[in-house]
Amino acid sequence: MKRRWLLVCCLGVTACLVRSAIAQEQERSGKGSAVVTAAGAATVNSNSSHDRRSPEALRSSASEQRAARIAGEKLFRANCGRCHQPPHKFPPRVMAMAIRHMRVRAMLTDEDMRSILSYMTQ
């Protein structure tokens, strides 16, 4: 009886892993085509979209993004690096779960959690 339950559990876990792998593949291919489409659209509309914003606005937006990235990296090194080596960058939804877990474990504030998540998913 015990063996049968073990077998059922193993099959269930395997099915979950396979489902997850297939879903990731689909997601990746979907994302790939979306990126291609977006890139195409961006090329077509590049002139018009660039025209809408002034060079000053673009410069300040870029510097804001850079500052946010640096702040996120600093927070990541200070908070996560205290206990373990920096991990690879995971897919966004995986990183979101890991960060939510670390918010509890490492007692991060909401603000720090968002900043680290934004850095790790860029």
């Binding site: 979950c16 892993l17 997850s20 879903a23 990731q24 689909q26 997601e27 990746r28 979907g30 994302k31 600093k74 200070a78 690096g81 205290r82 206990c83 373990h84 080596q85 991990p87 690879h88 995971f90 897919p91 966004p92 939804r93 995986v94 990183m95 979101a96 779960m97 890991a98 960060i99 939510r100 877990h101 918010r103 509890v104 474990r105 490492a106 007692m107 991060l108 504030t109 909401d110 603000e111 720090d112 959690m113 968002r114 998540l117 934004s118 998913t121």
Partner: protein
């Protein structure tokens, strides 16, 4: 009250779980009202954790120790997390008269199973069975892929209960006291449970830490009051320092109880600043640890029976993210005789999303 049988004291356990649960219910609607969603990206359930194969030679006696610790993380809505970690391990030793290594049955244990409610930006409420936040090693450095040296510090059993975990409730969080000063805290209560292997002591405690990001220094303290047996107080201090100009981590901890006291200090230096063989050197880390244990007024099965000193030196090599090889040598000095401790280990950290992982929503 009879506390000798293998049971969970129903009233104590109910009380321990009901107070945080009541608080949780009171705070939940307020938290939803005051804050929008937590993150911009929807989290996915994860199967993560670590696996390792650790070989010890203690006083010349070999001991093979395969270990796997899967951790399941399940997000529930925007503000809830269910997390549980189990351990599967075995000790394989040489049996006189038989060839090869032999072990008993596989040891299985649910280390913790907790439900977290992210009540506000600065407070999380946890109920269930959780790792006791006394000092830093048990909660933050315990997994085999994180720890720099594979052996446990001698003072680890102080303050963490009989199976490293508590059964009850906890409130924890962190906040910025000033722009360059973060404070973190954990306040907890545990009920008595004698049902092995999920046993726990009845105690209440607090741990707090101050982190200075500019100096990259964290210092903190833990306090616990035992609400059974000798009703004693336990306390400890911890520190982590990562000097900015060097790839160096220095961690230290002190713990004191009626059953013993002691400390450990562990510097770890990553060789990434060396100018030769840079690809190899940046993957290597030199580690050392010195620790001392002093016996107390009462005895404990988990702690050394006599005063003990130990020094260890090790080398870690990080192949890829999550995969690490370690080798270390230690010498233990005590009244029972001195002995050499050799350890070799391979450890791996895995992350498997249990759902689509790529998209933002």
């Amino acid at each position: 009250m009879n506390r000798t049988g293998p049971f969970l004291t129903r009233r104590g356990c109910l009380r321990a779980l009901l107070w945080p649960a009541a608080l949780l219910l009171l705070l939940a609607p307020g938290a939803y009202a005051q804050a929008p969603s937590d993150e911009d990206v929807k989290p996915v359930p994860l199967l993560t954790g670590s696996a390792g194969f650790i070989t010890n030679f203690t006083g010349g006696q070999p001991d093979l120790h395969p270990i796997g610790t899967p951790l399941v993380l399940v997000p529930i809505g925007h503000r809830w997390v269910f997390e549980t970690r189990a351990t599967f391990e075995n000790d394989l030793v040489e049996v006189p008269g038989r060839s090869g290594f032999h072990g008993g049955p596989l040891q299985k244990e649910v280390e913790y199973a907790q439900l977290d409610f992210l009540a506000t930006s600065y407070a999380t409420i946890t109920v269930g069975r959780f790792l006791t936040p006394f000092g830093i090693f048990n909660e933050r450095l315990y997994p085999v892929w994180i720890r720099n040296l594979q052996s446990d510090p001698l003072i680890l059993p102080i303050g963490i209960g009989p199976s490293n975990a508590s059964t009850g409730g906890m409130i924890r969080g962190g906040f910025k006291a000033r722009p360059q000063l973060n404070i973190n805290y954990a306040v907890y209560f545990s009920a008595l449970s004698t049902a092995s292997p999920v046993d726990s002591d009845r105690f209440a405690g607090v741990r707090t830490g101050i982190f200075m990001p500019t100096a990259r220094l964290e210092v903190g303290g833990s306090f616990q009051h035992l609400l059974e047996q000798e009703r004693s107080n336990l306390f400890g201090f911890h520190a982590i320092w990562q000097p900015a100009p060097l790839p160096l981590d220095i961690r230290a901890e002190y713990a004191n109880s009626k059953r013993g006291s002691g400390y450990w200090i562990e510097p770890a230096y990553r060789l990434s600043q060396l100018r030769f063989l840079q690809n190899e050197m940046r993957r290597m880390q030199l580690v050392a640890r010195y620790q001392q244990f002093f016996t107390g007024d009462l005895i404990s099965d988990a702690l050394p029976p006599i005063n003990t000193k130990e020094c260890e030196f090790g080398l870690n090599y990080y192949f890829i993210d999550g995969l690490k090889a370690s080798g270390n040598y230690g010498r233990q000095f005590s009244g029972r005789g001195n002995l050499n401790i050799w350890t070799m280990a391979f450890t791996y950290r895995f992350v498997v999303p249990l759902g689509p992982a790529g998209s933002a929503r």
